[in-house]
């Protein structure tokens, strides 16, 4: 019988310990990730049930629509306007090289409704509303408000999570649409106002080229999905934030970072599903 033995003369003991530790850490990280995924699933199901239950109390949803959606409008409108102006400027420079500046309106409208509208809105929303949701719920946890609700026989998934989830999902497509509309006016200002593209051509190419189902509706679906993802991450991070000031601050950062990455990755997936399908 052959016995294998690690000779401590060939491999020094500290190195063996380091190897064992590395393997252990790898395992711990894997277990941590699986646990995180399980936690996420365990969060989504009661959230969904809470969302169904809160439909009977639209007033709660409307309150959240105000703080999540309406209060995000200013940043969305301003950002949309500048993004549109930049698109108009860059678009005009490139298109005019081919004497195709008349297609500016179409190009800008497609870019905004298909991609930039949903994506940039979702990124801004993550920073403006997502972080606020995480901090709010994290602090509710830290100050025992969620525990107090449970002891008052009030389900926090129904009272706190549900209305906020709806508000995020409803307001995201509306904000994205707003972003696109304002963006188009921004590019109009640059293209028509500054560079003198014909007003009628700017709008008529857009009217002829943008398809409601293909472009607008797909954009709306996209931003609704982003709404689910961003709001879900924000609520999850807040709900499971460590009840300390450091824990809440970390959870807020994670919300912005994770949801931004998710938006960008998902956008590629959704675009390839929606626009690059079998012709």
């Amino acid at each position: 019988m052959v016995r294998y033995r690690i000779s401590t003369r060939l491999i020094p003991m500290p190195m063996i310990y380091a190897m064992i530790r590395t393997i252990g850490e790898l395992g711990a990280r894997t277990v941590g990730m699986v646990r995180w995924a399980g936690k996420g699933a365990g969060f989504l199901l009661p959230s969904f049930l809470g969302m169904l239950a809160v439909l009977r109390r639209p007033r709660l949803i409307i309150q959240q629509l105000y703080s999540v959606g309406v209060l995000s409008m200013v940043i969305i409108v301003i950002a949309g306007f500048f993004v549109g102006m930049v698109l108009g400027l860059q678009g005009y420079i490139q298109l005019s090289a081919y004497k195709a500046e008349s297609a500016l309106g179409l190009g800008v409208a497609l870019t905004l409704s298909r991609e930039l509208g949903p994506v940039v809105t979702a990124l801004l929303f993550a920073g403006r509303a997502g972080s606020a949701l995480t901090a709010e719920i994290g602090l509710m946890r830290a100050t025992e408000q969620l525990a107090a609700m449970e002891m008052m026989a009030v389900n926090p998934y129904e009272r706190v999570i549900g209305p906020r989830f709806w508000a995020g999902i409803i307001s995201m497509p509306l904000l994205a649409a707003m972003f696109s509309v304002v963006g188009i006016y921004g590019s109009w200002l640059v293209g028509v106002g500054q560079f003198g593209i014909d007003h009628g051509i700017f709008w008529s190419t857009m009217e002829a080229g943008v398809d409601f189902g293909e472009d607008i509706l797909n954009g709306v679906v996209k931003s609704a999905i982003f709404g689910v993802v961003v709001t879900g991450i924000a609520l999850f991070e807040g709900y499971y934030a460590k009840p300390t000031s450091e824990g809440v601050s970390r959870a807020t950062t994670r919300t912005v970072v994770n949801s931004s990455l998710c938006i960008l990755a998902l956008d590629y997936l959704l675009t390839s599903l929606m626009f690059a399908g079998p012709a």
Binding site: L139, E144, Q145, E150, M151, M152, A153, V154
Partner: protein, 275 residues
């Protein structure tokens, strides 16, 4: 009336019966084979050093935590087995005052007390207004109805939270460290309120505290927790005259004793010698 005989008599006079409780957040247990009885209609103090699981016990009674073993009976129903709707039905009969009051910060004082009424009942606005005013009057804060939680002092916030805890006329009110961080006047107010509300509304009160003086002064019956179990129990005078060394150390506040002053460590000299 002798609380001890009440305690020993039977489960008839018990609102809460805990038997053979085993609980821990991790592998390390906080309670091991613990049994205790909360007598109906009395103020029971749960005392013990920090970290002995006093607040955890309230979490278990409220069904927010589930025991690993043992049973928790509340008015003849198993809290530890209850889930979903049944658990919420049990909680409707419990009120809880949290350590930092846990008022909902987006609602004013009035709405905070109205919150459980609005959530749990279909009472018309006029009745809710009357009930809230009555509860506020009970804690002496009828004039503070319009204030936001941030505008309340610590003592006032605790009184508002108490009014909220009794909004639905529960059978049991649990107080988690109600005396912590209060000035002497607010402390006196809370002590008075716990006693008066208990007797006037025929509640059962459980007060978790590490404040020996206040705890003994207010309680009809006292449990001292520690070492994963009940160290001692009895009326306030029985506890004060206890011979048990651990109970004595806690009651008299001695820095060293069966509970050592030193956290377990290597011998001091060894620790200084190495690197």
């Amino acid at each position: 009336m002798n609380a001890r005989t009440t305690n020993n008599s039977s489960a008839e006079d018990a609102l809460i019966t805990i038997e053979n409780l085993e609980f821990g957040f991790s592998r390390e247990l906080i309670f091991k084979g613990m049994s205790l009885i909360i007598p109906r209609g009395k103020v029971t103090a749960i005392m013990g050093p920090s970290g002995c699981g006093k607040s955890t016990l309230l979490g278990l009674i409220g069904g927010r935590l589930k025991p690993k073993r043992g049973s928790i009976n509340f008015a003849g129903r198993r809290v530890d087995k209850a889930r979903g709707k049944n658990l919420y039905a049990l909680r409707r009969e419990m009120g809880m005052l949290f350590q930092n009051s846990a008022l909902l910060t987006d609602l004013d004082t009035f709405e905070n007390i109205a919150f459980p009424l609005r959530e749990q009942t279909a009472l018309p606005e006029e009745i809710i207004r009357i009930i809230v005013k009555m509860k506020l009057e009970l804690v002496g804060l009828r004039g503070a109805a319009e204030l936001q939680p941030a505008e309340l002092s610590g003592g006032m916030a605790r009184r508002v939270a108490l009014a909220r805890a009794i909004a639905l006329d529960p059978r049991l009110v649990m107080y988690d460290e109600p005396f912590v961080g209060l000035d002497p006047i607010s402390m006196g107010v809370i002590v008075k309120l716990i006693r008066e509300l208990n007797d006037a509304l025929s509640l059962t009160s459980v007060v978790v505290t590490h404040d020996v003086q206040e705890g003994l002064s207010i309680a009809d019956y006292v449990y001292i927790l520690g070492d994963q179990n009940v160290l001692g129990h009895g009326t306030a005078s029985e506890i004060q005259n206890s011979e048990d060394p651990m109970v004595r150390q806690f009651i008299q506040g001695l820095p060293d004793g069966p509970v050592p002053y030193q956290y377990p460590a290597n011998p001091y000299a060894d620790d200084l010698r190495h690197d």
